[in-house]
Amino acid sequence: MGKIIGGITTSHIPAVGNALADPEKRNDPYWKRFFDGYEPVKEWLADVKPDVAIVVYNDHGLNFFLDTIPTLAIGCADQYKNADEGWALPQLEVFPGDAQLSWHLVESLVNQEFDPTMCQEMLVDHGFVVPMQLMWGHLEGWPVRAIPLAINTVQHPLPTARRLYKLGKALRNAVESYPEDIKVVVLGTGGMSHQLQGERAGLINVDFDLACMDSVINDPEWLASKSITELIENAGTEGAEIIMWLAMRGALHSNVNVVQKHYHAPISNTGAGVLVLENA
């Protein structure tokens, strides 16, 4: 039987990808504290050894253009490639997928009244790639099969926070009904507070970010009950990505143990948080 062994939430800031490509940045004063926060995450992953990572992220205009925007899309391929997003990004090693599990997730989600778009070809952008690099980029080859699960957080109306929390619960049912014995980790990515655009650009709201982290651990209802407008007001237009953290949380039991909790700001224009939770 499939088992969710834990969840991770992390920001997916593109500048992190650039910094990871430059070994000198690891101990640079700007970056050191941020990267230090991922060491316990990497240790936990090396210890629990998941077979599959379901990565909940948003596409920022690579695989999906505005002609067709799915609210929820799942990769159903044997492998996934990244691509140039406009600033000459290098081609990384191909990410192995798990088509059988993907199609099982699709079937289970549809039966639970979610309506994913099914993608047998899917380019993955920094929203997916940066978290993968943060978790496993230091290793030779990707040690997990990955399933990209793309949520629309670009073209409003966005799905509600509560919808993402419910999606997480549905994912848990889906994984636990998979007949094969596999260990799955769910990554909820994006956020935390940031606004890239307009005269309010530069917004970082530490108090709100910390409240969100506490809510994801102890009281997901608090974040799930926020409207998108409330999230924009508090966390910025792009900070509304925080809804994807709830997909990770919904996939876990109501009581969780905190393995790692870390926050740093600013990284680029963003409040950067990382959490690792296990079922209690």
Binding site: G61, G86, Q197, A201, G202, P266
Partner: protein
């Protein structure tokens, strides 16, 4: 017939990319999307005006594009993630763009980011349980 109003429209300095916005700027964002490919970035660099015409941009959007006026482009419906595909290859970082939206220098914008995050380590200490490596 009209566009539905939304509560987020009253948030100052904030342009939510909804249907109304997206509809008004489809060609503009399609032009930015083309910059995912290097050959499109080169073609634009060679003759920006011709490239704007190729995508059928209206005059006001074309002028703002040729002037590199990010705030006007944003107000005319550019999506920030698509706008980044214009900005970053030409050497404009997200901090430069943020500074442009405020009409301040990039250093001033970076100082604003720092001041917005100021005191976060004390807040973490108060909250407890954070790993402060």
């Amino acid at each position: 017939m009209g566009w539905t109003e939304h509560d987020y429209e009253s948030i100052p300095g904030t342009y939510v990319f909804d249907g109304k916005t997206s509809h008004s700027s489809y060609a503009l964002n399609k032009l930015f999307y083309s910059f995912n490919e290097e050959k499109s970035r080169r073609e634009f660099a060679e003759d920006p005006a011709a490239y704007a015409d190729k995508f059928g941009l209206p005059e006001d959007q074309k002028s703002a594009l040729l002037a590199g006026d990010f705030l006007s482009l944003l107000r005319m419906g550019a999506n920030i993630y698509y706008l980044a595909k214009l900005a970053i290859p030409s050497g404009t970082s997200v901090q430069d763009a943020g500074a442009g939206f405020h009409g301040i220098t990039t250093d001033e914008f970076k100082a604003l980011l720092l001041s917005n995050a100021e005191g976060f380590e004390e807040k973490l200490e108060r909250a407890g349980g954070f790993w402060n490596g």
